[in-house]
Amino acid sequence: MEPLTRIERQARPESMLLNMGPSHPAMHGTLRIMLELDGEKILNAECEIGYLHRGFEKTCENKTWFNLLIYTDRLNYVSPLINNLGYVMTVEKMMGLAVPERAQLIRVLMSELSRVSDHLTCLAAMAMESGAFTVFLYMMKAREYLWDVIEFTTGARMTTSYIRIGGVRADLHPEWRGSLATAIKETRKVLKDVSGLLDQNSIFLGRTRGVGVISREDALSYGWTGPCLRSTGIPYDVRKAHPYLVYDRLLFEVPVGEAGDNYDRYSVRMREMEQSLRLLEQVAALIPDAAPLPAGPVIEPAEAIRRSRRTRTAERIRLSPNLEGSEKDRLAGLTAAAPLASVPAKEDTYTTMEGLISHFLFFMRGKGIRPPKGDAYFSVEGGNGEVGFYIVSDGSDRPYRLHLRAPCFHIVSALEQLIRGRLLADVIPTFGSMNMIGGELDR
C-alpha cells in the first residue's frame, strides 16, 4: 500500500515508527503524533489533526446570528465565555452597538474567571502527564470554586452562552461577592501549593527546563500569540495592545518569560493567573451592587397573563428561578438599547402584544439580528492567545462566512519542530505546555 503520511514516505529503513494517539491520555483530546524513532531519540515527527473537526464554520453559515452562539461555547471549551465574548464583540463592532457599563464589567469578570480556569486546566493536565497527579487534583479543586461562581450566575458550569450580542443574559447572582471571594481565596491557596510542589522540583525542572525551546523569531514566524509567545519574551497581549471592554482602566501586568521553554510557559501561566485574580478583585470592587427590585405587589405569571388580556399589568411579575437576573428592570443596564439586538424581556413578551411581536421578530428565521453588509475582524485575549473572529455578512439573518482565528492552531503547527531531535519523553511536557484544545484547533 502506498504510504500516505509524509513521515512514512521520508522514514529511514532502520528507524522505528511510533504512533501516539489519537486516543491517548496525553493527547488532550485528539491529536495524532507520528514519530520516527532511533531508540528514544526522535528523528522526525508529524502531527495529524482534524479528529475533532465538527464543521463549526459550515454550521455557522446555516444558523442565525443568535443561534450560533452556542457553537462558539464549544470552541475553546476550557474558557468558553471568552469565545462567546470574541464572537459577540465582532458582531457588535459590525452593528455599532454600545454595551452598557455594567455589562462590560460583568463580561470582564466572566472572562477572567474563564482565563483562570483555562490556565488551571492546562497546567493540571501538563503536570498530571508528567507524573504530578496531586497538582491535577489541587487545580481541579480550585476550578470547581470558579465554576461555582459562573454557575450561580449563568446556570451552567461550562458551556454557558451567557455573553450575548448587546450585553449579557442576566445579572449577577445576589450572593456573587461571597462566592467570588471564596473562589479567589481557594485559587490563591492552590497556586501557592502548586508553586511549592513544582517550581523547584528537580524532576519537573529536568523535564521542562531547556525542553521545547523556541526562539523569538521562530515564535513570530509561526504566528504564536498568548502565553506561549510571552514565554519567549515578547509582551504582546491583546488586552494591552488593543484594549477592549474596560481593560484600559484596570491595573494588571503582562508576565513574560525569557527562554521560551516549557518551564517558561508554565511560569508565565502561573503568574498570569495571579494577575487575573488581581483583575477579578478590581472588577468586583467596580461593579456596584444591583439596585433592589422595585417594591410593591408581585403577581404570578399565570395571573399576569390572565390580567393582561384586559389591561396592562403594572405590578411586578414573579419570574421563575431560571430567569432570575433577567427581569425587565435589570435588562436596561445589561443589554444595548438597540431594538432587536437582544432577547426582549419576558414580562413584555407574555403580557403585551408589542412584546410578543418583538420576540417573534427576534427569533424567527429570516428576521432578527441583521448586521450590515461587510466584513470585520475582532480579537480578544483568550487563554491561548489572540482569539479572532473574521465575519463576512451579506445583510441577511445568518453569516455569509465566519472564521475563527484559533490561537492554538498556530502553536501546535510548531510542535513538529519543537520535538525533533529530542527524546520521546519530552513530547509530553512540550505538548502539555502548548495547551492544545481540540475544539479550537480543529473547529
Partner: protein, 158 residues
C-alpha cells in the same frame, strides 16, 4: 428451583457484585465533555467512591469504554478499533449529547451517535452533563451489570 439454578443465581449475583464495583474505565475523551469527566474523576465529585476510579489507558486492560465527547467520521475507525480490542465482558457508556446522538452537530463531519458504530449500554445526556448525572449513569450501569445473566447452557446436563 433446582439446586443448579440456586447455584447459578448466586454465582451471577457474586459475579455482578464483583464486576460492578471494580470497573476499570477507558476514557475515550475528545471534546468538552472531557472537562466534566475531569471534574467527575477528581476530588469534588469523585468517581472513585463507586469503585470506578482507576483509569486504564489501554483497551486490553479496561472493561468500561467511556466515550466522552464528539466522535467525528475521521475518528470513527479509531473508536471501532479500540472497542474491538477490549476483552469481554465490556460495557460502553455514551457520555454527553454528542456521543448519544451527535448533539448539537448535524453536519458532514460528525457521527450521529456512537450507537451507529458500537453497542451502547448507558446513555448520559447533557451538554455537558453535570458530574452528578454522570455518577447517576454509572450507578445505572452498575445496576445493569448486577442483573446481567450468564449463559449456563454449557453447564446444564440435558
Amino acid at each position: 428451583m433446582s439446586g443448579f439454578d440456586l447455584l447459578t443465581t448466586r454465582l451471577e449475583s457474586a459475579l455482578g457484585w464483583g464486576r460492578k464495583f471494580s470497573l476499570f474505565h477507558y476514557p475515550f475523551i475528545t471534546a468538552c465533555c472531557g472537562m466534566e469527566y475531569m471534574s467527575t474523576a477528581c476530588a469534588h465529585f469523585d468517581i472513585d467512591r463507586f469503585g470506578a476510579g482507576l483509569t486504564r489507558f489501554s483497551p486490553r486492560q479496561a472493561d468500561l469504554l467511556l466515550v466522552v465527547g464528539t466522535i467525528t467520521h475521521k475518528l470513527a475507525p479509531v473508536l471501532k478499533t479500540v472497542y474491538d480490542q477490549m476483552l469481554e465482558p465490556k460495557w460502553v457508556i455514551a457520555f454527553g449529547a454528542c456521543s448519544v446522538s451527535g448533539g448539537i452537530y448535524q453536519n458532514y463531519a460528525v457521527v450521529q451517535g456512537i450507537d451507529r458504530i458500537i453497542p451502547v449500554d448507558v446513555y448520559i445526556p447533557g451538554c455537558p452533563p453535570r458530574p452528578e448525572m454522570v455518577l447517576d449513569g454509572l450507578l445505572k450501569l452498575q445496576d445493569k451489570i448486577q442483573h446481567q445473566k450468564q449463559d449456563w447452557r454449557w453447564a446444564r446436563k440435558t
